[in-house]
């Protein structure tokens, strides 16, 4: 990335350079932020389904807790998305 930046820097103003770097890193920011929560939510829902299958009478409680857990885990990915918007457009 740096090499490309140095290559094109001759024809670019510093502001444009900064814009390009921000656009590229915006993609990385969201992509990296989505990995962990993706694994986390998959694991969480899988375990919840396991628990519901094992004890169907506790399904309501498990579902409530599952939604809470998803909300907490998902927040990380959403912060990544906000960072993406900030880098790209702000």
């Amino acid at each position: 990335m740096e090499a490309i930046a140095r290559l094109v820097s001759a024809e670019m103003t510093p502001a444009e350079l900064k814009n390009n770097a921000a656009a590229a890193s915006a993609g990385y920011a969201y992509g990296l932020a989505a990995i962990g929560p993706g694994i986390g939510i998959g694991y969480l829902v899988g375990k919840s389904v396991e628990a519901m299958a094992r004890q169907p009478e506790a399904a309501g409680m498990v579902r409530t807790t599952m939604f809470l857990g998803i909300a907490f885990t998902e927040a990380l990915a959403l912060i990544g998305f906000v960072v993406f918007i900030l880098l790209k457009f702000a």
Binding site: T13, A15, N19, V82, I85, F89
Partner: protein, 215 residues
């Protein structure tokens, strides 16, 4: 004094960039002016374009309106609508509960009635069963007596018949023995010329008949 560089495509603003005048790259400003002149907008208009607002920054007027409507909703809900609705719901649930309790008491009364009826039924059933048993016993004893009587009659008749048969057989055997003895005596007289001893003939005949009977 910052300069705004506006990139346009088919009349729509695609990209706006603010460049401060003390940028090291001095070639920007004339290029931007040229670009602005090319796209048909005046330089004065270009510089008048303000920087785009941050897309995720909260806007005061939106906070004001949403907070206002939320608090109005909250106050109306908390102090008028919700208590009224809840009171109606609770009243109805209390009605339903008292109805259920009334129904429960009626059900309990009905159940005691049913229990009494069943007790009576059981008593009647026990009595009926006793009567049936008694009747069955009398019938049984009568039948047994009659059976014994008939059996006795049959036994005596069989004994009579047996006795008659035995007597008839004895008579027949005696006649057969007498006839055989006569024939044997006659045959012995003709063969040997002297009359054999009657007791000897009788014993021989008896032995022969015995062996014939045993065969």
């Amino acid at each position: 004094m910052p300069t705004a560089i506006v990139t346009q495509s088919s009349g729509r603003i695609v990209h706006v960039r603010l460049v401060s005048s003390d940028t090291t790259d001095t070639t920007v400003a004339p290029e931007a002016v040229a670009l602005a002149a090319e796209s048909g907008t005046g330089a004065a208009e270009t510089t008048a374009v303000v920087a785009a607002p941050n897309p995720i920054a909260p806007t005061p007027k939106e906070i004001f309106w949403s907070a206002g409507s939320f608090f109005v909703l909250l106050i109306v809900m908390r102090y008028y609508l919700f208590p009224k609705l809840k009171k109606g719901m609770d009243a109805r649930y209390a009605d339903i509960r008292s109805d259920i309790e009334g129904a429960d008491s009626v059900k309990a009364a009905a159940q005691t009635d049913v229990a009494g009826y069943e007790k009576q039924l059981a008593a009647v059933r026990v009595e009926a069963a006793g009567r049936i048993d008694a009747a069955r016993q009398t019938v049984d004893t009568e039948r047994n007596a009659q059976l014994a009587q008939v059996n006795a009659r049959i036994a005596s008749a069989r004994a009579d018949a047996d006795a008659q048969t035995a007597a008839a057989r004895a008579a027949a055997q005696g006649q057969v023995a007498a006839a055989v003895a006569q024939v044997a005596t006659k045959a012995a007289t003709m063969a040997s010329g002297r009359t054999p001893d009657a007791s000897v003939v009788q014993a021989a005949v008896a032995a022969a008949m015995e062996s014939a009977g045993s065969r």
